[in-house]
């Protein structure tokens, strides 16, 4: 932590005041403290970024060669073999030659499943939670606050408590090992999404709706044509949060979606990790799979991330 003084003791002359205020506005004055602070920040960024690079470096390596040169900063004996194995394109001999897993795995299928699951969950959850948030923030009805409170208490409940009975429910509905079973519990709402959108809607001036009402708009029109378009920033933030969460969910799909046809990437990675070849783990293949699981959300973030970063935390505590 820097102990640099922002303003050195100077004679208290009033004509200096403006300059001193300006100096104080600068966050930290150039000096050792500031250099040290930047050094720490850069170190944090290196520690943040290095594992991503290491994933890539390993994924592009020949798994057998990794053992010979574990410290190499570049891919060892570069090959796309890891990716070929993960996408089920490599023959058993080819995989064995590089020290890879020979079990049958098809990340195309799991990637498709993950995209379907995360997209469906995000769409349903954001739409329905926003609608509910409108009813909680903007409509007058008896019992509104009590119902809202009930919704919000669910925020504090560890998911496993309801997911055990939910498993029985999904089983009884005959939806085990279907994408529907993986999607359903998160499709209609999460307490957080309702809470988040309500907070935002509460902050929109009422005059806007009243003006629309005078123009003869009903609640449906006000919500879909006036309020939603005004809410693009929180909607992007919430959608990205929902997508990240749905994409990374492991526990629930592990319970209800173990079979190939409903297996998402996180579950597939767990299975892949458990299929260790006799020679030793297929690290190259595993990191290729991990990269496939990480990339789609990273791309989404690069496209939509700006508003997300700016708005995280304004009520975005999750």
């Amino acid at each position: 932590m820097s102990t640099t003084h922002l303003v050195a003791a100077a004679p208290a002359e009033s004509r200096n005041r403006r300059a001193r205020v300006r100096a104080a506005r600068k966050r930290i004055r150039p000096g050792w403290g500031r250099i040290l602070a930047w050094a720490v920040l850069i170190a944090v960024m290196i520690v943040t970024l290095f594992p991503f690079y290491w994933m890539l470096r390993t994924a592009l390596s020949n798994n057998n060669a990794l053992y010979a040169d574990p410290g190499s900063l570049l891919p060892v004996d570069p090959t796309l073999g890891g990716f070929r194995r993960v996408f089920g394109l490599a023959s058993a001999e080819e995989a064995a030659a590089e020290g890879g897993t020979t079990g049958s795995i098809d990340f195309w299928l799991y990637l498709r499943n993950s995209v379907i699951v995360a997209t469906a969950i995000t769409t349903g959850q954001v739409l329905f939670s926003s609608m509910a948030a409108y009813a909680f923030a903007r409509l007058h009805w008896k019992g509104r606050d009590a119902v809202f409170f009930l919704f919000i208490t669910a925020l504090m409940i560890p998911p496993i408590f309801v997911q055990l009975p939910n498993f029985i429910l999904i089983r009884d509905l005959g939806l085990l090992n279907t994408l529907a079973g993986v999607i359903l519990p998160f499709f209609f709402m999460t307490p957080f999404a309702v809470f988040f959108m309500r907070q935002f809607l509460l902050g929109i001036p009422r005059e806007i709706e009243e003006a629309a009402m005078i123009d003869g708009a009903g609640h449906g029109r006000i919500f879909f044509r006036v309020l939603l378009p005004m809410s693009s920033t929180p909607l992007v933030t919430l959608s990205l949060l929902a997508y990240i969460t749905a994409w990374g969910e492991y526990f629930w799909p592990l319970l209800v979606g173990r079979a190939d046809e409903a297996r998402v990437l996180t579950v597939a990675l767990g299975v892949f990790r458990a299929q260790t070849p006799q020679t030793g783990p297929d690290w190259a293949g595993l990191m290729a799979g991990a990269l496939v699981a990480a990339l789609p959300v990273l791309i989404l973030f690069i496209v939509f991330g700006r508003r997300f970063v700016e708005n995280i935390g304004y009520s975005g505590i999750k």
């Binding site: 009813a135 309801v162 990480a294 935390g313």
Partner: protein
Amino acid sequence: MASASRMTPRIRRRPRSDLRVALLFIAPAAMGFVAFYFLPAIRGLWFSFTDQNLIGSGDFIGTANYERMFDDPLFWNALWVTIQYVVINIGVQTVLALALAVLLHRLTRSIVIRGIVLLPYLVANVVVALVWFWMSDYSIGIINVVLEEVGLDRVAFFGDPAMAIPTVALINVWRFLGYTALLLFAGLQMIPPQYYEAAALDGASEWRMFWTITLPLLRPVLALVLVISVVGSFQIFDTVAVTTEGGPVNATRVIYYYIYQQAFERFDLGYASAIAVFLVVMLASIAYLQLKIMRSDRSDLA
């Protein structure tokens, strides 16, 4: 025109009830809430008093599951291991996140830097766990290669029972550090900059400003972030499930994983539910106590 738009809504606003419209708007979410939160919560509570298994239906057995729980050394071990995890995870994460948030706040407004710091949060727990599992591999993981290079001993990060929980805890610090820091950063932005300017004019050091301005004014935000991260931290599962699977010798058999094993490996849903009920009660009490102690509802800004 102007007077009309001021008059009409005032007449229409108060007396009406929007119940019918509200029901329409809330219907899908309410359906999901009842089906996947409310009824399961009641059912879960009921399961905890039965010998429900994964296949059939269960019979009422009173408080037998709870009695068994209090006599189960593996349950107490799971609780103890989880608490160790939470203390290390939250302790390290909070201090580092606070430091990072202050650094960002005092140094830069760069969106790119904040974006980079957030990257680990975007990646699934499972991916994060596997990457670090690989990097800390005993024989060819880069961390051990470097340790040996600089003349230190290799560390069995996941294989040594004493190291396993700290390792898992620190891996998840890596994932959540940037996110937590940005939540705190948002809180820092709410502190009026005049305070810092005035303090700077009086010659206060950065260190002193942190203790006398930043920390007291950030308290409500910090309290909320702490409550949320502690509750989340107790739910550690993914990292353990894809790396140690509870081992070595129960060293990482955290409570979430123990519940999972009881339900889906021993098929004992009744007992698993009883432990889950315990977890619910414990987390609710912790959250309540934390908010009470930190008086998060009262801001020093007022």
